[in-house]
């Protein structure tokens, strides 16, 4: 089926938050902290402005606690006294004229007494830099399997390496935007967001209101990638505070420079590997230390660290694994959710390290992976026994064959010895991605889905999961239609509105199709059960039963489903042992690169992505997820660099934060090897994040081969490549 809202998007009729008509509204903007850390001494309002025309909100206007409720409540909604990052929100202004508002924001001076900031997340902080607990550690987690020290001591080879990845900006094409207004006693916010109930949770807390008096609606959203997971909670509060004080609707639409400077990015990482191997390359011990830069507040960092360490050892069998992870506070924008959620960082390290091991031992990189890839019956670092019949060797083999891996390597060797300034290489990564929330996360979420039978015989799927470009509306429609045997145009998908749809959890973690889609199927079953219609009935019978229900005046007709974990899933949260995920998606990616030694520019010339994601629900949408993820990850690997100056992003514009264009990337060749997962909707697994994990190491491994170097950090920009190539 074609994307349902696709024609509206292609003709410009889809109305995003800044496009929706809104009568008599004010514009809202933010006055921000000018330095990385300090105490607010004075806020000075310029004399040339008539401030009585402006609505001005500061922390004293917050009805409830000045806390953004996410996992913790350490982050303020507006700075009261101490600020912890440059561009932290201090004051809000609203005015009918956007032009005058822009001018006014520049007329407010926030005068600060500076305090000692911390920017290096790999060093222990000095006493005057401590801002969280005793040591600035935001979270510490550990996985232990077997006896690493003994295995390392006994191993014939111990190979070490340190790997680093930089921050990455989401660069959704639509900036953050939110509108707030009041309806009677209810505060309504509508905007560009991934998780309506996260926003609700933050609003009820800081506004001291119950769920009935706060309503959150998702507007069509121009991309998220995790960047609209936590931040909209803050922006919604800002818009709501202005609207409450103004008594009029307030619209806040960020400009690109503000969005890039003030909103979360991917966590920078530092990962050290010490790996014991035998002569054949078999992994005997993996000792891994993971440090993430968490930024200025806790936000989602503990959960990102969790996924990071669980994926850190890769899809390999090893009896002795120790992974120690910690996330550190620094005085930069809080790092947040970004497609992959920690797994791309640690799998970059692991897959780059696998090639270093292969080079050290003189083993082919593909052979090293063949030897160590998990087989059914073996267990991951948390002790999760892998079952399900996925042929990981076949995934690897398909990737090697589709990319003509061996022939190209031979050809590159000849090319590289003869060409004056071009060097070619091919690189491989094998990896996995756990779908859905980690560990007991899905159980805690208690996600709920409803499917309503409408008076005209159509059905409406009601979830809080949002269409953010990935195809949620289309996929939910297909799932419900297939499950009930209805034509797709008899299935509607409700607008995510917390006063209308149940809390089916956030739109994150590659969970929407697999976890929530399965709940849609079960809610369809419940609807059928309420009607007494079994699944074997003929076409039209279900819809006749729905119409008759309403004709008899029996009230609303709703099927419901509540999350239940797949049978046999056991997770020990305290010790990080057991089944971290219901299932994993598996992949092998191959990148071919060409490096121009005149400019130290690397470009990807071919890319093959082979994966098993359960059953493919919609081939066009699935293909788009993989291709888009691969290119986003190529950007992270080669060009995307957040240049921080005193903790603030200095290149917060598209002119010098470089994402790939169509001309920078080759076609991405995608192969799906299907293996239906019994507990995902129609047999699917999560797909959205997987393609972010593999490309960066595959590209870096290809560059390693092209140039005969061992790059340890991304992005591999021309300056970094020049440094690596210059003795």
């Amino acid at each position: 089926m074609k994307r349902l809202e696709g024609l509206d998007k292609l003709t410009g009729r889809e109305l995003y938050i800044d496009d929706l008509p809104l009568e008599g509204h004010l514009w809202g903007m933010t006055v921000r902290c000018p330095i990385a850390r300090g105490r607010v001494r004075e806020i000075r309002f310029g004399e040339g402005t008539d401030w009585s025309q402006f609505v001005i909100v500061d922390h004293r206007d917050i009805p409830g606690p000045n806390e953004l409720r996410l996992i913790e409540t350490d982050m303020p909604v507006l700075v009261a006294e101490h600020a912890r990052y440059c561009h932290e929100a201090v004051l809000l202004l609203a005015h009918p004229s956007r032009r005058q508002l822009r001018h006014a924001v520049r007329e407010v001076q926030v005068l600060m007494d500076p305090e000692e900031p911390v920017f290096d997340f790999t060093c222990a902080p000095r006493p005057e830099q401590i801002q969280h607990g005793q040591d600035n550690v935001l979270e510490r987690l550990r996985i232990v399997k077997g006896d690493v020290e003994a295995a390392l001591a006994a191993a014939p080879h111990v190979i070490e390496g340190v790997y680093e990845t930089g921050a990455q900006e989401h660069l959704y094409l639509e900036n953050n935007g939110m509108v707030a207004w009041t309806e009677g006693d209810t505060v309504v916010v509508k905007g560009s967001l991934q998780c309506p109930y996260y926003v609700l949770n933050s609003l009820t807390w800081a506004l001291e209101r119950d769920d009935a008096r706060v309503r959150v609606i998702q507007a069509p959203t121009g991309g998220g990638f995790g960047g609209k997971e936590d931040y909209p909670s803050l922006l919604a509060l800002h818009a709501a505070l202005l609207a409450l004080k103004a008594g009029r609707p307030v619209k806040m639409i960020y400009d690109r420079d503000e969005d890039m400077a003030a909103t979360p990015k991917r966590h920078p990482s530092w990962v050290r590997h010490r790996t014991g191997v035998d002569e054949s390359g078999k992994l005997l011990a993996q000792d891994i230390e993971v440090i993430l830069d968490g930024g200025a507040y806790v936000t989602l960092t503990p959960v990102v660290l969790s996924r990071a360490i669980i994926h850190a050892a890769g899809p390999y069998a090893c009896d002795n694994v120790r992974i120690a992870g910690r996330a550190m506070l620094t005085n930069t924008v809080p790092y947040g959710a970004f497609r992959g959620f920690g797994a791309p960082q640690t799998q970059f390290a692991n897959e780059r390290h696998m090639d270093v091991i292969a080079h050290t031992l003189g083993i082919e990189p593909a052979e090293l992976r063949r030897i160590n890839l998990l087989r059914d019956g073996q267990s991951t670092s948390t002790g999760q026994v892998i079952e399900g019949g996925t042929d990981r060797q076949a995934i690897l083999q398909t990737a090697l064959e589709s990319s003509e891996y061996d022939d190209r390597r031979t050809a590159h060797t000849a090319f590289n010895t003869s060409h004056p300034y071009l060097r070619r290489g091919i690189g491989l990564a094998t990896f996995y991605h756990g779908a859905g929330f980690t560990g007991s996360g899905e159980v805690y979420l208690k996600s709920k889905v409803r499917v309503a039978g409408l008076p005209d015989g159509k059905i409406e799927v009601q979830t809080a999961n949002t269409e953010i470009g990935q195809g949620a509306i289309t996929v939910f429609t297909e799932i419900a239609a297939a499950h009930l045997g209805l034509p797709t145009n008899d299935v509607l998908v409700a607008e995510p509105d917390t006063h209308r749809v149940p809390n089916s959890g956030p739109t994150v973690a590659s969970r929407t199709a697999m976890v929530v889609g399965r709940l849609v199927e079960r809610a369809c079953d419940d609807l059928r059960a309420r009607l007494g219609v079994d699944s074997g009935t003929s076409d039209g019978e279900l819809q006749r039963a729905i119409v008759e229900w309403h004709e008899r005046g029996q009230g609303p007709l709703v099927g419901e489903a509540l999350y239940e974990p797949p049978p046999g899933i056991v997770w020990d949260e305290k010790n990080y042992r057991g089944d971290a995920y219901g299932t994993f998606a598996w992949a092998a990616y191959v990148a071919e690169v060409e490096v121009d030694l005149r400019s130290y520019t690397a470009r990807v010339t071919d890319f093959v992505a082979v994966q098993e994601i359960g059953r493919v629900l919609n081939p066009t949408l699935a293909l788009g997820q993989i291709q888009g993820g691969v290119v986003q990850a190529i950007g992270w690997a080669l060009t995307e660099e957040c240049q921080l100056r005193d903790g603030a992003m200095a290149n917060n514009q598209l002119t010098n934060y470089i994402i790939p264009t169509a001309a920078d990337v080759p076609p991405v060749r995608v192969v799906f090897l299907e293996n239906p997962y019994p507990y995902g909707a129609r047999g699917c697994k999560g797909i959205g994040e997987l393609p972010m994990d593999g490309p960066a190491p595959a590209v870096a491994n290809a560059i390693a081969e092209a140039l005969g170097i061992e790059p340890h950090a991304i992005p591999l920009t021309p300056p970094r490549l020049m440094e690596l190539m210059t003795p």
Partner: protein, 156 residues
């Protein structure tokens, strides 16, 4: 801003003549979106890098965020709102749109290329689309859509 500081001008917009009064620093993008009620054209970066705000000015793609509104006097502007369904049906099947924020700009550039197929012989499809940034598709869906629109089978 008093009225006498405004500039009055007339131009062709989506086949109709319109008369507007603009401030000297107004951008064409804002004129279209906020004054003329055509919100299909999107702002992505505000500095001419992303192409989300692409319109056709006298038949040629232009970033409307970089064009002072007063400069469109006497010109012909086509925005995404002038798009016919037939223009975009091949793009739908190809997966050209995901989140949709870059899409209006992509469609306007694709329409320009369709109307000037000789461009594809001189520059490749990827070069021609390089002025429209997309963060969702990885560009294959866009290139496939463009080629379907111009009736080419596959990427040269």
């Amino acid at each position: 801003m008093s009225d006498n500081q405004r500039i009055e001008l007339r131009f062709q917009l989506n086949g109709e003549s319109v008369q507007v009064r603009v401030h000297p620093s107004d951008r064409l993008l804002d004129l279209l979106r906020y004054d003329l009620g055509l919100p299909g054209t999107k702002e992505g970066c505000g500095e001419g890098e992303c192409g989300a705000c692409t319109v056709l000015m006298d038949g040629v793609p232009a970033n409307s965020c970089l064009i002072p509104a007063y400069q469109v006097r006497g010109r012909t502007i086509l925005t995404i709102e002038s798009t016919e369904l037939a223009d975009v049906e091949p793009l739908l099947a190809a997966g050209t749109t995901q989140c949709g924020a870059c899409t209006p700009g992509v469609v306007m550039t694709a329409r320009w290329i369709r109307d000037h197929p000789e461009l594809l012989e001189r520059f490749g499809s990827r070069q021609l689309m390089a002025g429209n940034l997309c963060r969702c598709t990885g560009y294959d869906g866009i290139i496939d859509g463009l080629l379907a629109l111009v009736g080419q089978d596959e990427e040269a």
